[in-house]
Each structure stands twice: as structure tokens, then as C-alpha cells.
Symmetry: C2
Subunit: 596 residues, 2 copies
Amino acid sequence: MSYIAPLKDMLFDIEHLANIAQVSQLPGFEDAGLETAQAVLEECAKLNEGVISPLNWEGDKYPSSFHDGKVSTTPGFKDAFKQYGEGGWQGLQHPVDFGGQGLPKTIGAACTEMLNSANMSFALCPLLTDGAIEALLTAGSDELKATYLEKLISGQWTGTMNLTEPQAGSDLAAVRSRAEPQPDGTYKVFGTKIFITYGEHDMAENIVHLVLARVTGAPEGVKGISLFVVPKFLVNPDGSLGARNDVHCVSIEHKMGIKASPTAVLQYGDHGGAVGYLVGQENRGLEYMFIMMNAARYAVGMQGVAIAERAYQKAVGYARDRVQSRPVDGSLNTAAPIIHHPDVKRMLMTMRALTEGCRAMALTAAAAYDASHHHPDAEVRKQNQAFYEFMVPLVKGYSTEMSLEVTSLGVQVHGGMGFIEETGAAQYYRDAKILTIYEGTTAIQANDLVGRKTSRDGGQTALAIAQQITTTEAELARSGSAHAQAVLKRLTAARLAFEDAVKFVAGHTKADPNAVFAGSVPYLMLAGNVMAGWQMARALLVAEQKVAAGEDVAFMQAKITTARFYADHVLSRAPGVRDSIVEGAAGVTEMALEAF
Amino acid sequence: MSYIAPLKDMLFDIEHLANIAQVSQLPGFEDAGLETAQAVLEECAKLNEGVISPLNWEGDKYPSSFHDGKVSTTPGFKDAFKQYGEGGWQGLQHPVDFGGQGLPKTIGAACTEMLNSANMSFALCPLLTDGAIEALLTAGSDELKATYLEKLISGQWTGTMNLTEPQAGSDLAAVRSRAEPQPDGTYKVFGTKIFITYGEHDMAENIVHLVLARVTGAPEGVKGISLFVVPKFLVNPDGSLGARNDVHCVSIEHKMGIKASPTAVLQYGDHGGAVGYLVGQENRGLEYMFIMMNAARYAVGMQGVAIAERAYQKAVGYARDRVQSRPVDGSLNTAAPIIHHPDVKRMLMTMRALTEGCRAMALTAAAAYDASHHHPDAEVRKQNQAFYEFMVPLVKGYSTEMSLEVTSLGVQVHGGMGFIEETGAAQYYRDAKILTIYEGTTAIQANDLVGRKTSRDGGQTALAIAQQITTTEAELARSGSAHAQAVLKRLTAARLAFEDAVKFVAGHTKADPNAVFAGSVPYLMLAGNVMAGWQMARALLVAEQKVAAGEDVAFMQAKITTARFYADHVLSRAPGVRDSIVEGAAGVTEMALEAF
């Protein structure tokens, strides 16, 4: 099943919801208007549709394999990655100074989606490399930048994030890997890291590991963690590759999905110590790692959108082809393609509405990111930063949770064929399940949302966003169309439910943390639902104007119907979730642990 | 991870919700009281925990394989099936006249759950055999009964259901397999059947295929379908095995889950015609097949409960063992087992509440089944029949859909380890996905619920059940406890939502079928939610009395908390779903097919 990039929907969001015209007024983004966006997205679509997407099922059939310390990736991956690098895609959002394209996230995010729709297992290598680049840009010394950035940005080398250890998963305070300072200013790194995505592979000349470890004598807990660069091959002063470093892959995991992406166990320092270079200052590793994490979390959210889009396209294709049973309304006297059946349409609409809603939410957040970095006015930067930071756990948490629903429906649309591996729908179902886990589980995102993003400022940011939603409600009320009225009803109810939840969370986190955290994931799901639903409501308003103007009517009608569907079938879940959050703690907190 | 049968919860339901004392007053079930139930369940637990459960992961690692027309099952399956048959488990609910135990479904259903928790792939062989037995009992001639029933009931032979063909999945009207009458009264059967569970295997001496086919000259559509027995080996008059029949397995499927269960493509009549024996009368095949289907649909619902229970147990085990992060309430100064974390508790409670709710719903339905067959009063039989038939699509549809949520949470509780196949949680996630598809997808169940079970009698049965729920509401109101009040609030709101939906469905199916069927699956999910939630409310009332009497207090407290959780976190979804059903059709019906 081939993949077709949803350029039209992406460009609709980029133009009307993310407001690319405003982004292109930011210093440094002068050339990044709608035309650039369109040109970049079209070029990106070509590579992903033609080269990278066909390797997706191949990767499931012929996963990465491990032999004698070496990892062989799926045939075709190495060449595709070469094309990816040479096309400049790794550097799309990175600075021109180091060979990047310097484009805004508002455009880059859509490219991230395409790459992940095409091939999520493949896309993980660039995704992690982006994180390494981000960390070096933010905290690396000039020497580290000079040594590593250009090669990472060109795709000659790749990057990894080494956080997890057997005893330290969600809890990084438990990291035990250690780094011994050497007289020459380098460190010797020792320890075992697990779940390292593309920790070893054959697609690039060198692998630049970003590694969390404790310097000898550092404090316990998260305040004693430092960040190191540990390259697979040491780099000579002239940039050529030197000796093999003492970091070795000892095995890769046998996983339910993303089988082509090698998940490595890395052993550091078994032969005297791996040479490591400190990034930034000692004991500030977690802070730097969070820079990578935040970029990665947003990207994983886009993976949720991406795999949902792919599953949707496949399901639509099958529903058009598969003939079975007469329509219930008697409109045809013979068996019809199953897309005629209302429940199949409902499933496809659910998939579509969730995907479009989350895409709109993510692209709107991307525009805020761009403004938060590039706007000349510090106050505007700050507001956008607050908005973006509130959205990151939602983009990550909600979009990935929704991708489980969407990929499950994708299998369901296929009926019995969906359960047969060769059909391909099952792969999306299996692949998607990692998304709610890695780069921080949904619960970890929810902790972030409750703690740093809601309670810390007493719910101010959240309530300010709710206030912005009322502006959209007022516009819906002015529209007066039946669809706008229906969406208004649901959006208002959902926004009120969100406000209730915000007040509950902000008001009780300190006094009754167990009660608040018993509802933390429902709170994330409610917030994500409202934010995505809000963007769909904004989309409806734009689409109604376009229809009135006779522009692109079929597309705009579909957008209106999809927004209506989102409201009646997804936003309608919000008040019930509010009840679970605000009134539902007893069912969790009162359960004795022995009773499970 | 070992499986421990939840005997206590099963017996609680059997005693207090299904009311086994009343079942044992039915003619023929005099010996089937609580003591019998307990003895049978304990014996059943031994076999499943000790013999069948350890083969579950083996089956995933070493699936059934196909070679030269033969299927080899997972090592150990053949011997386990021998023990299953010799223990009398295949005959548990079947008539004593043919070697069965003649026990009520109220007891048998709990045994079905255990077997499926232990090993869903294995359990499919007995499940399909039950269907074949049921069809022969209902419609088979004395000769067919004499030839096949004892051997099927003893486990010497197994049975299959042959419905699906490449062009005929959900739509059996499209069946093309044909049967030519022979002068000796037999038929020659020709055709291709796909997705035949245990259509070929090495666990029994003979396989008795129940096959849908059209007799030469039969009318088109569902009214021209007949049912045939086609044994793998012909049976001599003395009961010994004769010649190999002309039915051959040509391949088995490569599936996402239930890998140990061979899913066969069977070719009938490639060498002159397979000898078949008509079951009942010509052209009534679909009617007989529905007997098998209804039994099988209920059983598949129990598979949903079963795999949810297994996933829950595994998640609880991991949550107790895995140490990570300090509790949010500061109650411990060190990292704690993750079961201390509120969101992990919430996930486990969701898994538990859904599982217990669906178990209670299914066992209550089983008691109605028993009364519908055995009660001396025809009017009581009829009422119970109506109740049972209303419940079948809910037991099948809701319990299997919930099992997707539960097995997904099961992976989630394990974090990154959940995605590693060797952990075992992923297998449940992969296995469960077939449950919403086979024996009629959730949409097919919803069609049944909307058409035959709701619209046909103008919603009478559904509204009568709603009326019964108000009795429970009155009892909750009388209890006065805070938990009862909270549950009352949710149950009332959910019941009202259900009534609205029933009236909408009953009132519009004829006039606006597209609008009704656009909400058919949401209607099923709402109805299932309310029925399971109702049983949890009844359970809470029993448990409160027991606590007051000082009986089994820890268990009863946990039941109360679980009922409370179900109300606040699951029943609370009901009003939103009502909105989707009653007000949400436009978002489905207005979408142009070309716009997807």
C-alpha cells in the first residue's frame, strides 16, 4: 500500500491555523512563507512516497539483525538514508551556519510527519540525530560543535540519546553510569545503557552517542548527572575517523513493532573506559537532556499523527475496494464497497478526525515554537513559549494515545484480513504501541502537564488558553450555521470541562497529590482533546468562509464535516472525562495495594 | 508469568449476581448448586493453571506450522488436549446422554473463561468443537448424532465452522460453495473456505467440518444455504475411521496473534467431491449456523474477559516487582514499586473494573440462558430468552472491545519492557485484536443489536431492562453510603442515556437507517457499558451487606472500590456516547464518499 502525503491538509493547517504568513515575518524566516512551505513539502513528499515508504513493510519482514557485535539494517535502509542526508532533510530546521536549511518548525513538523508516515522505523534514526544536534547546539562547546555538527546535519553521522539503564527508566535519578575525569580534560565512561534506538547500525560512518552519566564524586539524584558525547569512532583533529571507542552493542531487542529500528543494549567501558567529552557543565546533564527530550517528545507526537495518517489511508483504500453486503438504506440492490456502510464510514471518520485534529494541534504548536525563538518582542516570545510548553505533553501524549485508537480501527476496517500480517494494517497497530511509551510514557507526560505546566503557575497558562478558546466560540456563534452551532455546543461544554479540571488540578496538587495524579492521564487526554477540537473548530470557520467564497468547495466541505464529526464524536467525550478527574479519585486512592 | 484463576470473583458473581441457587432449582440442574460450582471451578483451575497456561507463550514462539498438507501444532498441545478431553471438559455443558456432564452455562461460562485465560489459541479448538456439537444437537439426524456426538464430546474428534469464503465474509449471502446430491442421500461438496480455525491439525483423530454450501439449484442469497457435515475421515458403520475425505488444507495464515491456532484455507472437492451429510433440512443452513454462532459469540465474549484477566494479572505482577521513582505523596523516601504510583493504580483499576464488569455481565446472561432452556414456565423461559438474546451482542461486542483497552493498558503498565516480546504482555495485545473481528465484527454485533434486538420489538426488551435497572437505583438510594450515592448518580445518568439511545434507535431505524447505523457501534458500547455497570452496582450492594456483616471484608471492600471506579471512570463515558448516537449522525452521513 503506497503512501500519499496529505499535502493539502498540511498546507491548510500551515496557512490558516499555524498562520505561516506571521511566521514568515519573524527575523530569520523571511523566505519561509506559504510558497516555500509548499515547495518544501512537495519535494519532501517525493522522497518519502517514492523511496522511504516502500521500505516500511520490508523493515517489518526483514528487521535489523545482530551478529558479532554488528547490526545490519533492513536492505535498502542505508541507501535511503544516504538520499535523505544528501537531500538536506536532516538539516531542515538546523542552522545555516552548520549546513542546515534554517527553516521554521512550522514547515519542518510537516516533513517530520511525512517521514514517519512513510516509515516510522527508518525515521527514528533522523529523529534521534535531531535530538543530538539540538543538545550540542544548546550546550556544546565550540570545539564539540565544530567537530560534530556538520557531519550530523549532513547525515554522514547519526546521533543517539542514552538515558535508560536497567534500573533507571522513567526515573533518571537512578542513573548509575559513571564518568572518570582524565588529565587531558576528557572522561572515561563506564556503564550499561538499554533501549538505545539506533545505538548501533550500518547506515552511517560514525555514531555520536549523547550519554547521561555521573562524574566521580557527583551528588546523588538528578543533580549529579552530566551529559557526554561518546562517539563510536574517535575523531581525529582533521575530522577523519580514528580509533574505535570502547562502546559496544551487546544485543538488540526482539520487539512487537518498529522492528527495523535497532534497539540496542550498549556497554560502555568494558575495555578500559569509553572516551567521553563533557557537554556544557558537570551536573547539568539533565537540563541539557531535557532540550533533546522536548524536541524528541514533540517529534514522537508527530509520529502518532503520522502513523494514524498512514493507517487511515490504508483503511480508506481497503474500504473502497472490498465489496460486501448491500447498503442498509437500500440505495443499491447489490453488494457495495464497504465504504458505503455507515459503521465503516464512522470508523474512517474517527480515524480522520483524530488525525486531522492532532495534526492541527501540532502545527499550531510549531508556530508558537517558532515565535518563541524568533519573535523580536520578549513578551511575545514568553507567551509563545508558555503556550508551546503547555502543548508539548499534549502533542506527545494525546496524539500517540489517539494513534492507538486509529491503528486499531485501521485493523478493524479490514476485518479478518486486518489480522493477517501480509495485509500490512497489523504492522501499524504493532508499531504504534511504542509511541505511548518511549520518550516518556503518557503518565510521564501527564506528570509534566500537571506539575510544571499547570500547578506551578496556578493554572494560569491553561486558563489563558481556555480564554482564547472562548474567542473561537464567539466566532462560531456569529457564524450561525447548523454545523457551527453544533460544534459550539460541544466546544463550550468541553472547554468548561477543561476549566473545571484545571482548577481541580491547580488547587489540589499540593494538598492531595494522590487524588490529582489519579486523574493526571485523564487530564492530559481531556486537555489534548479540547486543544485538537479547538483547532478543528477554527478550521471549520475558515472552511465555511472558503465555501461561501466558492473556493475549493469539496475539500472545504469535507473539512466542515470532519470538524462536526470531531465535535460530536470526540469532543463529546470531554465532560465524562472531567467527571473522572474531578470526582473519580476515590476509586483509585481507596484501593488497598494488597487487594490487587 | 503464571495464571491464577480468579475463583473468588467468579464464585461471587455466580452466587450473588447470577444466582446459582435459583439455577439449581431448574429441572435437570438439581445438583448444580454453589458447592458443585466451586468443586468444578477448582478442578478446572488445576488443569488450566498447571497444564494449559504454561503452553501459551510456547504457542506464540512456536506457532502451528504447515507442511505438505499437514499442520503441526505447538509441542505440548496434543497432550494437553488429550488431558482436556479425558477430564470431561469438552462435555461440561453437553447432554449426559452423549457422555457430557450436563452442567448449566452459569458454571460452564466460568470454565470457558479459565481455559481462554490460560491459552486463547489452545481454547479455540474446544470452542469451535462446542459449536459443532451444538449444531448437531439442534438439527442433526439421529444417525449424525449417533455417529459424531460422543466422539466430539469426549475430545477424540474436534469440530470446525466453515462459513467464510474469499468473497463472503460478513455477508454470507455471497457463499458459493456447492453441494451436489448423490443417489445414496449424501452430497458431494465443492468449494474454498478460508479463515477456518483448527481446520487442520494433529490434536485429534478426526475433524468434523460443519460447512455452509448451496445445493444445486438452491435459491440465491441466504435462503439457499444448507449445512453439511464433512468429516476429514469418513466414518465406518462401526465407528472406526474409513477413507480420507476430499477436503484438504492448502495453507495456514501468518497472523498477528493467536499464532498457535491454525487458521486454515480448506479446499473441498478438488479430487471428485468431498462426501457431505446434510444437517437438518436443505436451505435452512443459516438458521442452524446461527445456533453455533450464538454459542460461539458468547464464548468469544468470554475470551475478551479471559484475556483481559490474564493481562491484568501480568500487569499487577509487574507493578508489584518493578521499583521506580518515589511516591508523589512523599509517603516513602525511596523509589517504590510502581503499584504505589496513582496512574499505575488507575491503569490497573481500569483493567480490573472492565474485566470484572464484563465477567459479571456475562455470568448474569448465562443464568438467563439456563432459565430460558430449563424453566418449567413458558413465560419465564421467554423473558429469559429475550434478555439473553439482547445480551449476546453486548457480551461479544463490548467485552472484546474492552479487552483491547485492557491489553493495551497491560503493555503500558510494563513501560518499555511491555514492547519486548519476551515479556509476554505484547502477546495479549496482539492476540486480543482478533476478538473484535471473528464470529462477527463489532459492527455485525451492533447490526444485530440494532435490528433484531432493538428495532424489531420497538425497543421493548431494552426498555424493560432499563426498568430493571431502576430497581437497582432504588436500592442504591436506600443504602445511603457515599459510594452507593456516587454509583447511583452515574448509573442513573448512564441508564437515561441508554433509554435515549434506545428510543432513537427504535424510532429511526426504518425512516433513517443511515443515521441509526452511523451510531450502531456507539449504541452497542453504551448498552454494554450500562449492563456491566449495572452488575457492578448490584455487586456493590451485596458487598456492602457483607462488609456490614463482617464477612470477607477485604475482598468485599475491594469490590466496592472497583464498583465505584467503574462508575466514575467507565459509566461516566455513557452520556457522551449518547450524544454521539443521538446527535452525531451528520458527521458521518454528510461526508461524500469521494472526499475520503
